[in-house]
């Protein structure tokens, strides 16, 4: 365990380094690049949710003046490659088929062809001239249909992976099944005084990042290619593009643009392989920019779900048994985050006996991608709603009930390992002590409480810290900055070097300019890449000490370091402490440039919990609700830049509230998405939300030199249940299906009024 440390920069709130460029419009995003000779790409997409591609005739499109290249699935090789991504792996065969359908289209909006032309209007016009003959099939529009008798099968060769289930064998839409168990669940329930079982449903929802996908790519006659794109993972884009298009990864450079939000949705590729394949065929750079409708229809939202949860508790509130079944929609190809949902759902609680089964189900909807703590919010909605029911039934304060059952350091997590120091009890106590928990409620208002968990990730990170002769420094890492990480990294380098944070430039490198670094995801950047920055800065500092030793003609071990200055050993004649700037001014004479570097693999991270209090007011005549007060408590380990930590907490809450109240993918019976735009896909707008209060709790993570834990994902986990529990408190009605849109709430209020129920 690291000793408490007095920080000079960590914990302060400097102005972010990338702020001025962003607010003045100078920052270059995915769609902002323009290269000489550039063509514009347009993607033709399937109007059908499920169809066999009988034929594609591109002749008429190719004949349109101004068209330089047309590609279909036949232009991309089959690949069986995979990309490692932490514990998971990205199956590039599926990704390749997803970016351009080979034999079947599997969702409304699935790409079937792409055109590159001198203008976007010509490209669009040519795409309209492509003749695709479809054999339209019945779509699988949801979990019930996917599992029902006689369901259409998306992938005839699909075999259920993992633990055998009751329905193993034969054609299936179940891509995988996993089990998680501990103790004797039947004996556990037999011991319980109260058993509550409910079934929950949530719709497919999108991350809603403000910047649509966009890229520009070129490919020379020598096979060397460059892709500029908005992405969370330039190395993933490199490897995926190379495999899907059929290039040597060594020949592909990916340059990440500034990024306008990702939330997990900008890790896999959509447009990049198409732009690259078109560019290779046309021998000209090709730029493709998605419209918002395509972002909704054809990128990676998160799963719709069905979750059944049963909890058993003793009269005193001790939870003794749990069982759960989870079915998550994967979309068109295997890979929902149902496993993560299963592993997270009981993470907060000491449950001696449990049995969880988790099904990954393919349906004719877009292939899901990561979305902020993937899988955990859906599972928390179910579990935290049932825990709320237990607290009500047993008349125990909901925070008290959770404290009674809370996991602590040394307890075994439901997903396997023993917890190190975790801040669950601390955030629960902070919530209980907060004035919000005791504040009076007005008419038609209710209060809800929920907790949430996320593992957080470590993985591969690299960093360099280059010192300039004026004593300033430049940090380069390979992580696109979606959450203020450049500012945090500059602060860490400043802390280690003892130079002002304003004197550190923090940069995102491309795949040739930075050491290999895993994606910006898993709340890992400030933690793992931050650790690489700290070590790289230490490396630079050690080199400075060596230079001071040279100047003073003493051994390096004798040189001290304090407050950004090398300190000569006592008694050294004519030597006085030297600052970083004084040392770098003599770099050339003392051995040349100084570049600190570090690469590391962080096998583990600091798991974290959040606890949220939500006050909601409902209009009983219209079912419309609004959030009137919201407070989020979170163990962040150590807040490097508290403003960004608070911003992450507020952002997660805002997305979670949207998911709870109004967001949903709406499909027609034939699988056509009906609300592919921000007008009818109702994300919250600023005026919908109160100022979200935040309480930072710091329980140091011993794996990080400053105690940092991942921050960005935890705060989206509790809101679904916190809002639903507040709605229960306000209306007396337990809602088990999201979103809590006005029509759904009013219908339930009217039904409850018709049949009196016990409040």
């Amino acid at each position: 365990m690291t000793a408490p440390r007095d920080f000079k920069y960590v914990g302060t709130r400097p102005i972010r380094h990338d702020g001025v460029d962003k607010v003045t419009g100078r920052a270059s995003y995915g769609a902002d690049a323009a290269w000489p000779g550039m063509l514009h790409g347009f993607v033709l997409r399937s109007p059908h949710a499920h169809a066999r591609i009988v034929s594609i005739d591109t002749g008429a499109a190719e004949a349109v003046p101004g068209v330089h290249a047309v590609i279909t699935g036949k232009d991309l090789p089959e690949t069986t490659a995979t990309i490692a991504l932490g514990e998971a792996a990205i199956d590039l065969r599926d990704i390749g088929d997803n970016v351009l359908a080979k034999t079947k289209t599997l969702y409304h909006g699935h790409a079937v062809a792409a055109v590159a032309a001198t203008t976007i209007d010509i490209a669009r016009e040519a795409a309209a001239a492509i003749e695709v003959v479809y054999d339209v099939l019945e779509p699988v529009t949801g979990i019930d249909r996917a599992l029902g008798a006689g369901a259409p099968i998306l992938h005839p060769a699909l075999v259920t992976k993992g633990a055998a289930g009751p329905d193993a064998g034969g054609p299936t839409n179940i891509a995988s099944r996993m089990e998680l168990k501990r103790g004797d669940v039947d004996a556990g329930f037999a011991e319980a005084d109260l058993v509550v079982e409910r079934e929950f449903r949530t719709p497919m929802v999108h991350q809603g990042y403000i910047e649509p996908h966009a890229c520009i790519a070129r490919c020379g006659e020598d096979g060397r290619a460059v892709v500029w794109c908005t992405t969370q993972g330039p190395f993933v884009v490199r490897d995926a593009c190379a495999a899907i298009v059929g290039l040597d990864p060594a020949n592909v450079k990916v340059v990440p643009s500034e990024i306008g939000g990702g939330f997990g949705g900008k890790i896999v590729v959509y447009l990049e392989p198409l732009a690259l394949a078109l560019a290779r065929k046309a021998r000209r750079p090709v730029k493709i920019v998605m419209g918002r409708d395509d972002v909704f229809r054809a990128t990676g939202p998160t799963s719709g779900s069905k979750v059944r949860v049963k909890l058993g508790a003793k009269r005193d509130g001790t939870i003794v048994a749990a069982s759960a079944s989870l079915w998550y929609e994967a979309g068109a190809y295997a890979g929902s985050p149902v496993g993560a949902g299963a592993m997270c759902m009981l993470a907060a609680y000491k449950v001696p006996n449990f049995f969880i089964e988790a099904y990954d189900v393919v349906v004719n909807k877009p292939k899901v991608a990561a979305y902020r703590a993937p899988g955990s919010p859906i599972a928390a909605f179910a579990v935290e709603s049932v825990v709320d029911e237990i607290a009500r039934e047993l008349k125990i304060d909901p925070i008290e009930l959770r404290l009674m059952n809370a996991n602590a350091e040394g307890d075994r997590a439901p997903y396997g390992p023993k917890y190190g120091p975790i801040g669950l009890a601390q955030i629960l106590e902070a919530a209980r002590a907060h004035p919000h928990w005791r504040a009076p409620l007005g008419a038609n208002q209710g209060r809800g409480f929920a907790v949430g968990f996320w593992f957080n990730a470590g993985m591969n990170s690299s960093a360099t810290v280059t010192l300039n002769s004026d004593g300033s420094a430049a940090v380069v890492t390979g992580n696109p900055d979606i959450g203020g990480t450049r500012a945090a990294q500059a602060m860490m380098a400043a802390e280690e070097l003892g130079i002002p944070v304003e004197r550190v430039r923090s940069n995102v490198g491309d795949t040739d300019g930075s050491g290999f670094t895993d994606v910006t995801g898993g709340s890992r950047v400030c933690y793992a890449t931050g650790m690489a920055v700290i070590r790289a800065a230490e490396d630079a500092r050690e080199q400075l000490r060596a230079r001071a030793a040279t100047i003073w003609n003493v051994s390096k071990d004798a040189v001290g370091w304090e407050n950004g200055r090398a300190i000569p050993p006592a008694g050294t004649e004519k030597a006085s402490p030297m600052t970083v700037a004084e040392l770098t001014a003599k770099m050339t004479q003392t051995g040349g440039p100084i570049v600190g570097r570090a690469s590391l693999y962080a096998p583990m991270a600091g798991p974290a919990f959040g606890a949220h209090i939500c006050d909601l007011e409902v209009d009983p005549e219209t079912g419309r609700s609004r959030i009137v007060r919201y407070t989020a408590f979170q163990d962040v380990g150590k807040a490097v830049h508290p403003s960004y930590v608070e911003g992450q907490m507020q952002g997660g809450v805002a997305q979670g509230i949207g998911w709870a109240l109004n967001e949903e993918y709406i499909y027609s019976a034939d699988g056509v998405m009906e609300n592919a735009g921000f007008l009818d896909y109702r994300m919250p707008v600023a005026s919908d939300l109160p100022m979200i209060e935040t309480v930072i709790v710091e329980v140091a993570n011993p794996l990080h030199p400053y105690g940092v834990r991942g921050v960005g994902e935890v705060p989206i986990v509790p809101p679904l249940a916190a809002v639903a529990n507040a709605m229960r408190d306000a209306t007396g009605i337990r809602f088990t299906e999201l979103p809590l849109s006005p029509p759904r709430v009013l219908e339930a209020i009217e039904a409850a009024a018709a049949v009196p129920v016990e409040a």
Partner: protein
């Protein structure tokens, strides 16, 4: 290739000539609906006829007869007009509900009417205020009551070459006021799931002498609801009469079931909003009575 002309007439007659000469031309006021339709390929005009440089289309005039509102006057200008807000607070509210601050700087009441969405926020408030559309065309000027202007979603009575130039609203009688309410799941940047406007006139004793009620987003066009008006006239706008008006509005609603709301939901909410709008209009009219 798409080639589109952009015209900037300086007078109504010049605009009418341009519109009459090219059936594919579309009038561009704020463009907040038209440009979106253009970008998504719903409309492919051959020309945009920008009417914002015609002074009389960008003006607000209030005299003893009432209001003459230039059809292209931006919502933000209307929202800042103190006299208009005082005389027609419900109408002003309906204008200020449209879109965002940025949209308010562009969008106009004329555009809102010509887009002919059944959910248009200003229509109901204009109907209850007896507003008329002033239409210029190759054969001169004609007027049409607002409730007759839209004939179906996206369609109006405008003939080829015709142009909506102004909206006229008669000056309200003493102890008269109005209100407009809409239901959206969010607080802004949304389209009404249901809307309702009411205007009431009280006599010195507080009895309702005339009432107008209109509901939106619950039929192919905004509907005036005479049965709801009859429920209010002669009453003190007490709970019972407001409830009768609400029931009449719900009964008159002919909503569709779609992604924005169910039939049953829209019918119920049309009634709730009618009751609430009438109550607000009544309170405002009473307030006028107490401060003559």
């Amino acid at each position: 290739m798409v080639a589109i002309r952009y015209e900037t007439p300086r007078s109504v007659s010049e605009a009418v000539r341009l519109m009459a000469a090219d059936p594919g031309a579309r009038v561009l006021a704020g463009g907040t609906d038209l440009l979106v339709q253009f970008r998504t390929g719903v409309r492919q005009p051959s020309a945009f006829v920008d009417i914002k440089r015609i002074p009389e289309l960008m003006s607000i005039a209030i005299d003893a007869h009432g209001l003459r509102l230039g059809a292209a006057t931006p919502a933000a200008v209307i929202g800042e007009h103190a006299e208009l807000r005082r005389l027609w607070p419900g109408l002003a509210e309906s204008v200020r509900l449209i879109g965002s601050t940025q949209i308010q700087g562009r969008g106009s009441v004329g555009g809102n009417l010509c887009n002919a969405s059944p959910a248009a926020d200003t229509t109901c408030a204009l109907i209850v205020n007896r507003a008329e559309c002033v239409i210029a065309g190759p054969n001169g000027e004609r007027t049409v009551p607002v409730e007759a202007f839209s004939i179906a979603p996206g369609r109006t009575v405008l003939q080829p070459g015709e142009l909506l130039v102004a909206i006229r609203v008669p000056r309200p009688a003493a102890r008269t006021s109005d209100a407009y309410l809409r239901l959206i799941p969010r607080t802004e940047m949304d389209i009404a799931v249901a809307g309702a406007a009411a205007s009431v006139t009280l006599d010195a004793a507080g009895l309702c002498t005339t009432a107008r009620v209109a509901i939106g987003a619950v039929a192919p066009t905004a509907l005036r609801v005479p049965a709801a008006e009859q429920a209010l006239v002669g009453s003190r706008l007490d709970e019972a009469s407001l409830k009768r008006a609400a029931d009449a509005a719900s009964a008159a609603a002919r909503p569709i079931d779609d992604k924005r709301g169910t039939t049953a939901y829209r019918r119920t909410v049309a009634g709730v909003l009618t009751r609430r709008a009438a109550a607000i209009a009544a309170a405002r009219a009473r307030e006028q009575g107490s401060h003559p």
